[in-house]
Amino acid sequence: MKNPLPESPSEESVEKKVVIKNKLGLHARPAALFVQTTSKFNCEITVRKGKQKVNGKSIMGLMMLAAGQGTTLSLEAVGPEAKRAVQEVEKLVNNNFGE
């Protein structure tokens, strides 16, 4: 019988900057899409705008940033699915949240 390989908890750590391009900025609907996306992945994700730092899975936090068009946000994710979480958020932002 073959011994199964011990599961290695792969801790990824990713940092990425994105620019909000849709006209109305990160209002309630895009913020909802943002957290729906991040919540799917097993990772801790923080979003930073200047000195303000919020949890990337919290809609109120994201809306608190009041990130209008042209704002640069830094995404920092840590955890087994950090890379994919950041990729998906990037896709969403670059698609202007479908707006």
Binding site: M60, G61, M64
Partner: protein, 314 residues
């Protein structure tokens, strides 16, 4: 280094202190780096060894009278030295008129002078409070802050663990919401941690399945607070069989925010545990402790004493 702009000081205090800028056109770009207030009496007399130049300089009756009484040449000399420092601003109290030479030097050096009808002590008090608040160390945490029976209780835990749902139930039970999701914290003098909400999301919550709700409109003004001193942190987490949770309540655990330690409890969540009730009891227990009654300790001392008495009578 944190600093307050003179403009911010003026904008925030001009109504309460009835401040008037008497050097029109001088830009309010100076930076105040200390909450101490300085009265430059000794500096005017020529003693500059401990001159706190980065503070607001307040001229009361003494300072103004001293300047007016000095011989002209001497006054020129002390003002020349005084204005060679980078002073943020000058405030003259009791509506005194500024000595002409002081005005001239201030305009020449680009340092604004304000005038207030308030008395010196009163003005110093209010100005200090404002600057201390503006310079207070700040941070923000992911969590929910409530006033539970008067105890500022910070609920923490991972996204989706049920902080907002617990908070909603607590509000329904008559407790007050301060901030949901993002709690802003500042450390004020006396190692006090004040928690409040950012203006954008104040008194609002997000509940999965319901969306964004306005707690003040739904539950009334009695269900919310704008700020509250934080006295306790509670972390909610999924029950983990690997972890030993506190049973007796004898070991105290702490969590540090901005260098201030807060009592910290971890409440494990499993079906059948009424978390809001547990949070309320934890808050009440914390109040008891602050009033000098530590139930777990006293219970244990009684137990030990009773055992000792029994042994002696055996």
């Amino acid at each position: 280094m944190p600093a307050v702009l003179v403009k911010d000081l003026f904008d925030s205090l001009k109504d309460t202190l009835k401040l008037k800028l008497i050097t029109p056109g001088i830009p309010l770009t100076g930076k105040i780096k200390s909450s101490e207030i300085h009265r430059p009496g000794l500096a005017f007399a020529g003693f500059y060894d401990y001159f706190a130049s980065d503070c607001v300089q307040i001229l009361g009756t003494t300072e103004v009278a001293f300047l007016n009484k000095q011989p002209a040449a001497k006054r020129e000399q002390s003002l020349k030295k005084f204005f060679s420092y980078k002073i943020p601003c000058i405030v003259i109290t009791k509506n005194q008129s500024a000595p002409e030479s002081l005005m001239n030097y201030a305009v020449k050096s680009g340092i604004p002078i304000f005038r207030s009808p308030l008395r010196t002590t009163n003005l110093i008090g209010r100005t200090t409070i404002f600057i201390e608040d503006a310079l207070a160390p700040r941070s923000s945490v992911h969590g929910t802050l409530l006033d539970v029976y008067g105890v500022g209780t910070l609920l923490m835990g991972k996204s989706g663990v049920g902080k907002s749902e617990t908070a909603l139930e607590l509000v329904q039970r008559g407790q007050r919401l301060v901030a949901d999701d993002v709690v802003e914290i500042k450390r004020t003098p006396g190692d006090v941690l004040m928690g409040y909400s950012s203006k954008v999301i104040r008194h609002h919550m997000e509940i999965r399945g319901l969306g964004i709700i306005d707690v003040m409109s739904l539950f009334g003004v009695g269900a919310v607070r704008n700020q509250k001193r934080i006295l306790m942190a509670v972390t909610l987490e999924k029950w983990n069989a690997e972890i030993e949770y506190e049973r007796a309540g004898l070991t105290e655990s702490w969590k540090e925010f901005l260098g201030v330690r807060l009592p910290h409890l971890v409440i494990p969540i499993i079906p059948g545990r009424n978390i809001p009730v547990l949070v309320e009891v934890a808050a009440l227990n914390q109040r008891l402790k602050r009033m000098g009654i530590h139930t777990a300790k006293q219970f244990n001392e009684d137990l030990i004493r009773q055992m000792a008495e029994r042994d002696a009578s055996d």
